[in-house]
């Protein structure tokens, strides 16, 4: 059996387990509630916009969006390119990349640690290469989080189209693009979370260390931003959001390569450590 088949079987099981477990269902429901809340907020904002700015012309609105996007992503070209995107979709994109690490940590802290705790992992290490097991676990968590974010984004697209905020083609075009751009960052976060989970036999310790690790990475980003020490910021996966939304292909590819490279690094490191580990 090829390693790819092993990974597929492990990932499929992990995906199924996530959406059947109470934890997975609760997280999905919370995510959908979050999406619904965002939709309601969108309705409210649009109402306010119509009330407060009844006579604003589309060009001025576009200009406001462009300025806002330039401020957020720190790049005029990006601001210009995002000026045509429905603002709610930009908001959901930003919300997703900030909330995703939290959801990933809650979703994956016991993915490997849970199996190590009661030695259930032994049923798998007999039948799969250790690296396949690890990558399968990562892939399962990544598939789960991707599905959850897709569900939330899709909800917003529907509301956006139904309320006439944007034509269907525009909403779906930008919506799918924004959702796809969250994936490389999620891949890196999932890599870190799976690595941490595989280091501990106690899921609760794994959860705490995952939170701590994510927080430390966030602090690196924060300190790096304040002190202009870019090297510190590079370790934070969300740092690359600016590159990912950049209209320039080279910037996009750099951001993509950094996120996926980071994910690959954590997956390779985790697989290596797990291969050497006594289970």
């Amino acid at each position: 059996m090829s390693p790819l088949s092993e990974i597929r079987f492990v990932a499929q099981r992990e995906l199924g387990k996530s959406f059947r477990s109470a934890k997975g269902i609760v997280l999905l429901v919370l995510s959908l509630l979050g999406g619904t809340a965002a939709s309601l907020l969108l309705v409210k904002v649009q109402q306010l916009k119509r009330e407060k700015m009844p006579n604003i012309d589309p060009e001025s609105l576009r200009s406001i969006r462009e300025d806002a996007a330039t401020q957020i992503f720190g790049d005029p070209a990006t601001g210009k390119s995002l000026a045509d995107a429905p603002e709610v979709l930009i908001a959901v994109f930003l919300l997703t990349i900030w909330i995703t690490p939290l959801v990933i940590s809650l979703l994956s802290f016991d993915s490997v640690a849970g199996d190590l705790q009661h030695k259930a992992v032994r049923y798998w290490t007999l039948r799969t290469r250790r690296a396949s097991y690890f990558i399968g676990k990562w892939a399962g968590v990544f598939a789960t989080i991707s599905t959850m974010t897709f569900a939330v984004h899709a909800l917003i697209w529907v509301v956006c189209i139904a309320r006439g905020e944007a034509p269907a083609a525009t909403a779906l075009g930008w919506g799918i693009r924004f959702w796809l751009l969250t994936l490389p960052m999620s891949a890196a976060w999932c890599g870190i979370a799976t690595l941490v989970s595989s280091l501990f036999k106690s899921p609760i310790i794994a959860l705490l260390v995952t939170f701590a690790t994510f927080f430390v990475l966030f602090m690196f980003w924060l300190i790096g931003g304040v002190t202009h020490a870019n090297a510190l910021m590079y370790v934070y996966p969300n740092f690359y959001e600016d590159m990912l939304v950049n209209p320039r292909l080279d910037r996009l590819m750099t951001g993509l390569a950094c996120c996926l490279g980071m994910a690959a690094l954590y997956i390779a490191g985790g697989s290596y450590l797990f291969t050497k580990k006594d289970v």
Binding site: F9, A120, R127, R130, K276
Partner: protein
């Protein structure tokens, strides 16, 4: 003991037996030096069901995808294996060889290193020093050993949220059993452990005995060549334990079985050979007959009635006679002089006893395994 027999030595206490002429170097079990090591030894193999006559090859079928495998003479080989956990040495220089097709016991008190040795055989733990081989491969060579080894780990819980059926199907898939055979294989092994009604029961809802049998079922999927069973009857009620023993017996001859257990009666009943471990070191090993009959003594249980002990003492080959009046057990020690063996002594002693109207309840040669283990371990 010949080199063909089950052999085991502890490096610190005895030198290893002269190695039988064998093909090249063994595959190291250490993860940092894995290397495939097929052992092409021509011999008839009991589980070579589909092998064409005289080909010297076996086909692993019955579930796992049909693949050519070279037959091996030695199913498990440990060479100077040591495992340390920090400063603690759990297993110390154990050398052990188990012939293919045998039922072999790992015996010893708590902390003797049985489970650690077992876990190294299964690839759960990596040896600190030494080499472990299963069917000629390092245990972590998963692809080479896929469907060829089944393991019942002692304390590995089943995934509680999985239904029994889906767990077994998942395990079967990972063993590369053809898609059209996966469910049948899973159902067959579940039926074999008398659990066909549990297919849709969640693993977390199973009782200890039921879970143990499901664990046993997953070890038997795909009809593996080597099955490692760590405490297979621990915590089971007598009826279920009996059924599990019968199941193990039914596998005898179909595969190599390694059984680790505290239950010495059970091991004596099941095993062809055994290794006795104490404090991480191998203190004795060999066939069950060798382990239990190596001493020059016979035991005779008498029913109520005459017990002509002085007449037995007068027999020329008898060195000493002990009689436990309460148990009515007679232990006769004799000199293993030329021409005198246990069978002759049994004949002579029984003749004297029967001539004097003693009623014989049972006769055994050598010591029981339990006594042997008590002697060898602190």
């Amino acid at each position: 003991m010949s080199a063909d027999e089950v052999t085991a030595t502890n490096e610190a206490s005895a030198p290893p037996p002269a190695p039988a002429p064998e093909p090249p170097a063994p595959a190291p079990a250490k993860a940092d030096a894995p290397a495939p090591m097929p052992m092409p030894m021509p011999m008839s193999n009991p589980y070579a069901k589909d092998a064409p006559e005289g080909t010297g090859e076996i086909f692993i079928a019955e579930g796992a995808k049909k693949r050519k495998k070279k037959p091996v003479e030695v199913a498990i080989r440990l060479t100077k294996v040591t495992k340390r956990f920090g400063p603690k040495t759990a297993v110390d220089g154990v050398t052990l060889k188990v012939k293919a097709g045998q039922v072999y016991g790992l015996i010893g008190p708590n902390g003797a290193g049985k489970t650690t040795t077992f876990s190294m055989m299964a690839g759960f733990l990596q040896p600190t020093e030494g080499v472990v081989e299963v069917l000629g491969y390092a245990p972590n060579q998963v692809d080479e050993l896929r469907s060829r080894i089944g393991v019942l780990p002692q304390d590995a819980l089943l995934p509680g949220a999985d239904k029994v059926g889906e767990f077994l199907i998942h395990m079967a898939r990972l063993q590369d059993i053809p898609a059209d055979r996966v469910e049948d294989s899973a159902r067959e092994v579940l039926a074999e452990v008398d659990g066909r009604d549990w297919w849709n029961v969640k693993c977390g809802s199973l009782s200890h005995g039921m879970a143990k049998r499901v664990q046993l079922a997953q070890a038997l999927i795909g009809d593996p060549e080597v099955v490692l069973l760590d405490e297979p009857t621990a915590g089971l009620d007598p009826r279920v334990a009996y059924e599990v023993r019968q199941l193990i017996k039914s596998r005898k001859g179909r595969c190599t079985l390694i059984v680790s257990s505290h239950n010495l009666q059970e091991l004596e009943e099941l095993c062809d050979g055994a290794a006795i471990l104490d404090r991480g070191r191998l203190v004795a090993s060999g066939s069950m007959t060798e382990l239990t009959a190596s001493s020059a003594e016979i035991r005779i249980k008498l029913s109520p009635g005459p017990a002509p002990i002085p007449l037995v003492r007068d027999l020329p080959m008898v060195k000493r006679v002990d009689f436990d009046d309460e148990k009515r057990e007679l232990v006769v020690y004799f000199e293993r002089a030329a021409g005198v063996d246990a069978e002759q002594v049994i004949g002579a002693v029984l003749w004297v006893l029967l001539q004097n109207q003693a009623r014989i309840a049972a006769v055994s040669k050598g010591r029981g395994l339990e006594q042997r283990v008590m002697e060898l371990t602190d």
